[in-house]
């Protein structure tokens, strides 16, 4: 069963990813991105990361892509992009070459080390995944124990991001004071 | 918390009786299909009346057509056959048509008619699916041999709608002279006889022809 789910998730993911890259319309790209994200969430579930799967949907699909769509609609850049025109000369062949090279490197690595994890020590104790606690409890303990400082820093980072976004999108003082309130301005 | 007071108001309505009249156009066999009771003076669909002896009241004088602000009445008079008169007097209404897609029910025609030939029934529940249906000819307007209005298939007649065909006329003298208010001022109608005058407020202290100068406390009817 897991293989089947994996296959479905993989197809969803890759098809979505190709869609993101290939679709001419940014809104379609965003929708394909959502598809990819759902595929990734499925993979997370397959790996027992239920909490992450839910968070992936809430944060990625519910906030990040929505934000993308907001900006697309706000700026009205939802016109289809002319894909045939090449922005910089030689960029596409270069992209192909780089892509192929990357594929080759990664493929070689994976194929040559069929089981990448053999010989590496498996974790135990609090960070072990096969304990009694659910994945949420485990994550909670680790996050607020071992990584407490990192969490604090992320909080600061988020605050800075919000302030930055507000400052960036704020218009110069005009008579019309009220900018349309969106999640970005909150 | 002004936010919450309003909730009591809407909730209270839930326990009041419904004010809806469950009218269903007569297309429904439901017993609850009732019409709202209509006031006497309502301006509804017209009828052409007959005298007690069956003669038509219309004399084809075209006053109604002339006074109609919407020009919705078409009348042509013709001379009576002296042997078989349709109406008393010399002339009668040979053609009488009302276009209900023009009629605004202002009842000036009723006020203008010198013989009370045209009056309005209490029927306001009718509608047409073609323009031709809306033009009522004399046949359709004229009361039948019992003095009752003819009922067209697209009209929704109910008990009593035909009873008060001259309400507005009885309410207007039309001179507005209080001496004449409450006085029977028209001839008898086929099927109804002479209808009593409308019990008017001003006339109560001084019945027909009484002295209007006396100022009194009119009663509450």
């Amino acid at each position: 069963m897991a293989e089947a789910v994996f296959a479905v998730a993989a197809v969803l993911m890759l098809a979505g990813a190709i869609g993101v890259v290939a679709s001419r319309n940014p809104v379609h790209a965003a929708l394909f991105l959502v598809q990819t994200l759902v595929g990734v969430a499925l993979l997370f579930i397959l790996n027992d990361a239920h909490f992450l799967a839910a968070v992936q949907v809430v944060v990625y699909a519910g906030a990040i892509v929505i934000l993308f769509l907001f900006v697309i609609m706000l700026l009205g850049v939802d016109k289809a992009e002319e894909l045939r025109v090449e922005p910089i000369f030689g960029q596409r062949p270069l992209a192909a070459v780089i892509g192929a090279a990357l594929a080759a490197v990664l493929g070689t690595v994976i194929l040559t080390t069929a089981d990448v994890l053999s010989g590496i020590r498996r974790s135990g104790g609090e960070r072990a995944l096969d304990g009694e606690a659910t994945d949420i409890e485990r994550m909670g303990r680790v996050l607020f124990g071992e990584f407490a400082f990192a969490v604090e820093i992320t909080a600061a980072l988020l605050t800075i991001a919000v302030v930055g976004a507000v400052v960036l999108t704020r218009r110069a003082a005009r008579s019309d004071g009220a900018a349309p309130a969106g999640p970005g301005s909150g | 918390m002004g936010y919450l007071h309003g909730f009591a108001v809407t909730l209270r309505q839930l326990f009041l009786p419904r004010v809806t009249t469950d009218y269903r156009g007569g297309f429904d066999d439901s017993p609850s299909d009732v019409k709202r009771p209509k006031p006497e003076r309502l301006h509804g669909r017209h009828v052409l009346n007959r005298y007690d002896d069956g003669m038509e009241k219309c004399i084809g004088c075209e006053l109604c057509a002339g006074v109609c602000p919407a020009d919705c009445i078409y009348v042509r008079g013709a001379d009576n056959d002296p042997d078989d008169p349709v109406a008393p007097g010399e002339r009668y209404g040979y053609v009488y048509e009302i276009n209900y897609l023009r009629c605004i029910h202002c009842d000036l025609c009723v006020e203008a008619c010198p013989t009370q030939a045209i009056t309005e029934s209490k029927l306001f529940e009718f509608s047409f699916t073609s323009r031709d249906d809306a033009v009522y000819t004399k046949d359709e307007l004229l009361v039948d041999d019992d003095g009752r209005p003819r009922q067209m298939p697209w009209e929704d007649w109910r008990e009593g709608d035909d009873a008060l065909t001259s309400g507005w006329m009885r309410a207007t003298s039309p001179s507005g002279d209080s001496r004449y208010v409450g006085e029977v001022a028209w001839s008898g109608e086929l099927g109804y006889g002479v209808r009593p005058a409308e019990p008017a407020d001003a006339a109560e202290e001084s019945p027909a022809g009484g002295d209007v100068q006396t100022e009194g406390e009119p009663g509450d009817g």
Partner: protein, 104 residues
């Protein structure tokens, strides 16, 4: 459940493919918003790797890392999109079409 056929390698291969598609997209596309999306694709590829390796190593650390990646991705998108909006405002080109769309 026995998942003998489904080794961590599969996940890694899948992640690699995703990463490559994202990278190529980043190079090929010129719409800044779509480029951002391609970055998201690459980040997601990394996330898959983290979770799969974490599961393989029986370590919750992989998931914790993904959590941080999510936060960083959100931050990056917020700032990035704010920049796009600000730039678009200055250029005042992209919205004029919509003004004309409003007629009628």
């Amino acid at each position: 459940m026995d998942l003998s056929g489904l080794t961590t390698g599969w996940y890694l291969a899948l992640a690699a493919a995703l990463f490559i598609i994202g990278a190529v997209g980043l190079l090929v596309r010129r719409n800044p918003l779509v480029m951002f999306m391609c970055v998201e694709l690459m980040l997601n590829a990394v996330n898959v790797t983290f979770v799969a390796l974490g599961a393989g190593l029986n370590d919750v650390g992989g998931q914790v890392a993904v959590f941080f990646v999510l936060v960083v991705a959100a931050t990056e998108v917020v700032i990035g999109l704010a920049l796009v909006v600000a730039i678009n405002r200055r250029r005042a080109g992209a919205t004029t079409d919509d003004v004309s769309m409003l007629k009628g």
